[in-house]
């Protein structure tokens, strides 16, 4: 399909228990491009994201830098940073222990240093030795983001990374996103609150009942000028 795409989904679909959760879908991300995926609950956004993260069996093809990710799954997973609804953190361990574990798992050269650096980047260095179970939802979300960025991925898959986060934390995370984007990291960002994402993403893609409806570029437009079709449906 499009030349120079970082990530491409070609006819990707997901079935579970005899139901089709995601109908054959085409989606492409260029290097450094950010797309928001919006839609009502149950539209299949999270399932699509999990399929792209190779966590859910899918049919069709996912290509990373032009290559089917099934051929080189490890190289693909190395390039991938994922924030799911579940934080993927061990509550009994401290913030630092969690990150050091993931740094070792990813085979980073200096696990402890990398963990401390990312902890500082999300503003949690003061809580390095606190068990994660004592964290607020917002702190957990920031730590989950630190975990996803730990190995310097090229592509972020984000599922509602701003949920449960207070205003200060949100500003911090949006800044992190802008930085990541400047460094050339691409992202697919699943969210309900597209207005918050508007300034960061290049395009907003709408999804409903397992199907992508269409994409709206954000450049030169204000979020108020756009209404997704599901919102109209809800109003009508």
């Amino acid at each position: 399909m499009s030349a120079g795409a970082l990530l491409e989904a070609l006819g990707l679909s997901v079935q579970a228990g005899g139901r089709t959760l995601v109908h054959p879908t085409h989606l492409a991300l260029r290097p450094g491009q950010w797309k928001a995926l919006v839609g009502p609950n149950g539209a299949g956004k999270t399932t699509l994201l999990k399929a792209l993260a190779t966590l859910v069996p899918y049919t069709g093809t996912v290509r990373y830098r032009g290559r089917d990710v099934r051929e080189k799954p490890l190289a693909y997973r190395r390039a991938l940073g994922v924030v799911l609804h579940e934080p993927l953190l061990y509550g009994e361990l401290t913030a630092l222990e969690n990150l050091v574990f993931y740094a070792r798992l990813y085979g980073l050269a200096a696990p402890r240093a990398a963990a401390r650096e990312k902890l500082a980047a999300v503003g949690l260095e003061a809580y390095a030795h606190e068990p994660v179970s004592r964290f607020s939802r917002g702190m957990i979300q920031r730590l989950a983001l630190a975990r996803a960025l730990l190995h310097r991925p090229e592509l972020l898959l984000l599922d509602e990374p701003l949920s449960g986060i207070d205003a200060r934390g949100e500003g911090l995370i949006l800044n992190l996103f802008r930085e990541a984007k400047e460094r050339g990291i691409a992202a697919l960002w699943v969210t309900h609150r597209w207005r918050r994402a508007w300034d960061v993403v290049d395009e907003v893609v709408e999804m409903q009942r397992g199907t992508l409806l269409g994409a709206v570029p954000t450049a030169g437009r204000r979020p108020e000028e756009w209404t997704p079709s599901f919102a109209e449906e809800a109003r009508g």
Partner: protein
Amino acid sequence: MKAYLRAVLALAAKDALLERKSFETLIATASFALLLAVVFHFAFDIASAEGARFFPGALWTAILFAGTIGMARSARVDEVEGRGRGAALAPVDRSALFLGKCLFHLALLAVVEAAAVPVFAAAFALRGMALPHLVILGLFLGTWGFAALGTLLAGATAGERATGLLLPVVLFPLLVPVILGGAAVVSAGVTGEVTAATGSWLRLLVVFDVLFTAVPALLYESLMEV
């Protein structure tokens, strides 16, 4: 290969670290094994002359019962909020998740056995062991096979409602070679009566261990997705 081994060790170390926070699994597993020594002592009314005959079977029964509980618990650690998936995202073959867990279970069971063997020896009035090395070898080979199959089945049933019920029922029939082989080798080690059969038992245990470490490692990826 080096990265793979490092990931296996990181996963096992993570489980060990979680365990060190409370020692819950270890305490529950070890105390159940020790409790069984006392129960067996009274239930079978062991006279000192018969001690050596019943010691290997009783010891293995306790290891299997207690170990099954321990592994079921430890497998559930990764099910909380689906956090075990974090490791599935790492750039390492997913068989490492199995081997890391298996390694941790092996260490856990080794600690339990280190406590259980002397207590069982006392409960069964054992007057020393003729070949302690053979006892340790038998325990190690048997425990390895037990840990491998136990890790596979405990991991697969961990997220389900009936885990506690299902695990022993599915695990124990498959473990017959480990139970018989482990008991036979430990028995030979206690009495010092090493025969040609002892060699066959050791070979059988090695085949079992290698087979049921390799096959689950191959199948783990397809088992764990979703």
